[in-house]
């Protein structure tokens, strides 16, 4: 069997081999010598956001919140022994995670790759979901959700998402709520499994010291007939989301060691823009220039004691949403809030410093290369980015093509200094 194409990055000096199997399943293999561990990821484009969808010829379907994550737990269920144990018996570790847009099952091993790959594909393509396994899982997931309720960061970000968005499902938690999880049934879980766990909607990634051609043959042969013939293609339905934030500020009182704040800047979705990749890179550079360690803002706020090394910012832009978060623990929520908004306004008005721009391009290019250091981080980052429909190799190149002018365009298109929301966690006296 031949690969359809290869991807190579001159900066990263890695090659990825790609093939779309006859079934429709995408396969990506990154062979890498000298690392002891090998990794495989089996992923579906189905996550916490995808609760409302349409199957051709049927009524629109609405599922309880948290069902993709619930299904992830259930895929681990086997009748005779646990999958954790099955993998560990051969010297492999298996795990999974659910994000907003994907569910990913993965394992790693030093010397049991062939068996592990078979187990992984076997586990995802066959499940033993029963009424009793569903009931037992509800108890475990309830403990998981209650654990989040005690995490200040979770309270803060989950509160902010509800302030930023009126309707978009990004405002809900991936795991759902204690109540929504209680309403999940075996039938609903099985339906979601059928609709979203099929070759057209999935991809398989392999990283490590492997024979790529042999592995490709194996992957092809490990697909079950039921899997290959599953042809659902659900269309995700997203509500019409207003442009403005839902709520300007949210103050949560908790007994905590130090107050915390998070500002969200809401923007128009970017997923349909052809130069989205370049815009994302431009925004990352701009954010680092405004708020990063070497920025005027960081220096000023740090010396005033308003922030610490944890001061952070991130850009998220996916299906129907785009926002930037900025925040930290602080001794003065109001002052840090005012300083942050002022920093943004000043940059929107006066533009960016050219020397700082060149320095920041160097920094982020270096960081990008560093993120391809350990094979484990390559595996995680590459899988995550491909499943979101972005190509990491292209992103690296974009750090080089980005110009000073493009930076300004991307920033002015993205930011509206008035369209933001503040969320804060303040100590209950």
């Amino acid at each position: 069997m031949q690969f359809d194409r290869t991807f190579y990055s001159d900066y990263i000096r890695e090659t990825v081999y790609y093939k779309k199997l006859n079934s429709g399943l995408d396969v990506y293999i990154l062979p890498k010598k000298s690392f002891a561990k090998k990794y495989a990821f089996f992923a579906t484009r189905y996550g916490g956001l995808d609760n409302h969808f349409r199957i051709e010829g049927r009524d629109d379907i609405k599922m309880p919140l948290g069902i993709a994550h619930f299904l992830e737990h259930q895929v681990f269920e086997e009748e005779d022994e646990s999958n954790f144990e099955r993998f560990e018996k051969i010297g492999a570790n298996v795990n999974a995670y659910t994000s907003y847009g994907t569910t990913v099952y993965h394992f790693d091993t030093v010397d049991a790759f062939d068996d592990g790959l078979k187990y992984l594909m076997d586990m995802v393509q066959n499940t033993a979901i029963s009424d009793s396994s569903v009931e037992k899982e509800k108890k475990v997931i309830e403990q998981e959700i209650r654990m989040y309720y005690d995490e200040p960061e979770w309270l803060l970000s989950s509160g902010l998402m509800k302030s930023l968005y009126h309707k978009h499902p990004i405002r809900e938690d991936i795991a759902g709520s204690v109540e929504s999880v209680q309403s999940i049934t075996r039938e609903a879980v099985l339906d979601c499994y059928r609709y979203f766990y099929n070759p057209d909607n999935m991809a398989l990634f392999v990283y490590g010291d492997v024979d790529s051609e042999k592995i490709l043959e194996q992957i092809d042969s490990y697909q079950t007939d039921a899997f290959k013939s599953n042809r659902f293609s659900p269309k995700i339905l997203l509500p019409e989301e207003p442009y403005a934030v839902a709520q300007k500020r949210l103050m949560i009182e908790r007994p905590i060691g130090k107050d915390q704040m998070l500002i969200g800047f809401k923007s128009k979705p970017m997923d349909h823009l052809p130069d989205r990749e370049l815009r994302m890179v431009a925004l990352r550079v701009a954010n680092d220039m405004m708020f990063g360690r070497s920025s005027d803002h960081f220096d000023r706020c740090y010396s005033k004691g308003l922030i610490n090394d944890g001061f952070d910012f991130e850009l998220q832009a996916q299906k129907g949403y785009a926002y930037v978060l900025v925040g930290n623990e602080t001794e003065d929520v109001e002052q840090l809030y005012a300083e942050t908004i002022e920093t943004l306004r000043r940059h929107l008005k006066d533009g960016f410093d050219k020397t700082a721009f060149l320095r920041m391009k160097k920094k982020l290019l270096g960081r990008m290369i560093t993120s391809f250091n350990a094979l484990q981080s390559i595996a995680n980052n590459y899988t995550y980015s491909m499943m979101r429909g972005t190509d990491l190799f292209e992103q690296v190149a974009a750090y080089n093509t980005l110009t000073y002018e493009m930076l300004h365009t991307a920033v002015r298109d993205f930011y509206d200094a008035d369209n933001h929301s503040l969320s804060a966690l303040v100590n209950k006296k």
């Binding site: 900066y11 990263i12 000096r13 690392f35 002891a36 561990k37 646990s82 999958n83 954790f84 144990e85 560990e88 018996k89 051969i90 010297g91 570790n93 298996v94 795990n95 790693d108 091993t109 030093v110 037992k136 475990v140 997931i141 403990q143 998981e144 209650r146 654990m147 309720y149 005690d150 995490e151 007994p255 905590i256 060691g257 130090k258 990063g292 360690r293 005027d296 960081f298 220096d299 740090y302 010396s303 004691g305 610490n308 090394d309 623990e329 001794e331 320095r359 920041m360 160097k362 920094k363 982020l364 290019l365 270096g366 290369i369 560093t370 391809f372 250091n373 350990a374 094979l375 484990q376």
Partner: protein, 424 residues
């Protein structure tokens, strides 16, 4: 091959060439005995050092240089290794040829040297404004420890269990200790610290070992002085009864921590078996606790056991519903007792061995974990013959594990429970 050079008595350079990586990672490990007197000083020192040097007068200048070094990362922090308080200063940079920048490595080593040997000094003290900022930051960090309930529960367990031993001291120091430190006093401590502490330098990346050794010999300065030998911890303890400690918090889930004395020092031939016992009990998805407490009883999402090598203590942690704390506690104790009586299946033992060996085999895939691992070996038995150790683990049988577990004694149980709200 790894190359070890003594740069001075008590100062070792360990060069680890590896073609796998796109980065060079340099770590400087500076050890002190863990004491009440010094804990706050060492913690604050670690935060002050990476903020400015004699050439780079502010954190901003230092951060701009790091950006120019293609996003190099500089981290300085304190860690607890048994009853040692260890400052680790680490610098990670992309390999020169990946970013096509010659001279990058030299600049990075020079920066690392300046951070450790040439801090910013004003009139016989550190920069007072930096000291004040870092003091405030560290104090806030100490106050925030309570926000992470899992680590708070385990911390409380250690503090209670080892109340009369240095091990109870937290590596970040105390609020009172920090409050009392000024810029001059901290600098006086620094002069003692830089001349009397044992130092290990570990460097890993794709480079020539001899060239890297020469670069460090040339550029990394060693202050002369007699370097301390840090005493081995007391690790044997037989509690006459189990100590209980309970605290109430405003939270949604109860937290349980059980502290065991393993009573098997790492020098003992039984140590590998004792460690393996903790893996069988509480490491990973097929461990006893995960299978019984989470999968069978659905009592907990997060439940695990971990061993501390230097102090030979084992902590068991579980996040549990408030109403089921006693049930979970009894179940955990019962499972450990049952293992002590020999109730460990061949599968369980086999899985634990595989897990342990696979971790051993792959640790060199992660640069930071690898240098930390090699460093911790230097501290204990010196460089280890990896293949022989692997064989030793493979040969452990049920009897060995059960025999090692006979030394385990439950010392302390901590419960974090729900705060009762009273109407006023």
């Amino acid at each position: 091959m790894n190359k070890v050079t003594m740069l001075a008595p008590g100062v070792r350079l360990n060069i680890i060439p590896s073609e796998k990586f796109k980065t060079v990672l340099m770590g400087v490990y500076i050890g002190r005995p863990l004491t009440e007197d010094e804990a706050s000083l060492n913690a604050l020192l670690s935060r002050v050092l990476d903020k400015a040097t004699h050439k780079l007068k502010s954190p901003r200048e230092l951060n701009q240089l790091l950006d120019d070094l293609y996003g190099s990362v500089l981290v300085s922090d304190v860690h607890k290794y048994g009853e040692r308080q260890m400052t680790q200063v680490k610098l990670q940079m992309p390999g020169e040829d990946f970013v096509h920048a010659q001279g990058l490595l030299k600049e990075a080593v020079s920066l690392l040297n300046d951070v450790i040997n040439h801090p910013r000094v004003i009139e016989d003290g550190f920069d007072p404004s930096i000291v004040e900022q870092e003091k405030r930051g560290l104090m806030a960090e100490i106050r925030m420890r309570i926000d992470d309930k899992a680590s708070w529960a385990m911390g409380r367990c250690i503090e209670t269990m080892c109340a009369d031993e240095p091990y109870h001291i937290h590596e970040l120091g105390t609020l009172e200790g920090l409050e009392a430190i000024d810029a001059k006093q901290l600098y006086t401590h620094y002069l003692e610290w830089i001349t009397t502490s044992p130092i290990d330098v570990m460097v890993i990346g794709n480079f020539d070992a001899d060239a890297m050794t020469d670069l460090f010999k040339d550029m990394f300065e060693i202050q002369s002085g007699d370097r301390l030998t840090i005493a081995r911890e007391e690790v044997i303890s037989h509690p006459s009864e189990v100590t209980r400690y309970s605290e109430s918090h405003d939270m949604k889930q109860g937290r349980l921590a059980l502290g065991y004395r393993m009573n098997v020092p790492y020098e003992s031939p039984q140590y590998p078996a004792a460690l393996l016992a903790t893996v069988v009990l509480g490491y990973g998805g097929s461990s006893r606790l995960f299978k019984v407490v989470r999968e069978r009883e659905g009592l907990s999402y997060s439940v695990y056991a971990r061993a501390e090598k230097f102090k030979s203590v084992m902590l068991v942690y579980a996040g549990v519903d408030f109403e089921k704390m006693d049930q979970a506690e009894a179940l955990i104790i019962q499972e450990i007792e049952s293992m002590k009586q020999g109730n460990i299946t061949a599968d369980e033992l086999d899985i634990a061995k595989r897990t342990y060996i696979s971790n051993l085999d792959s640790i060199s895939d992660y640069p930071n974990s690898y240098i930390n691992y090699l460093y911790s070996q230097f501290l204990t038995q010196g460089a280890l013959d990896q293949a022989a150790y692997r064989k030793e683990i493979e040969s452990l049988d049920l009897d060995a594990v059960v025999a090692a577990m006979q030394h385990f004694e439950l010392d302390t149980i901590v419960q974090l429970v729900k705060e009762e709200t009273h109407a006023i």
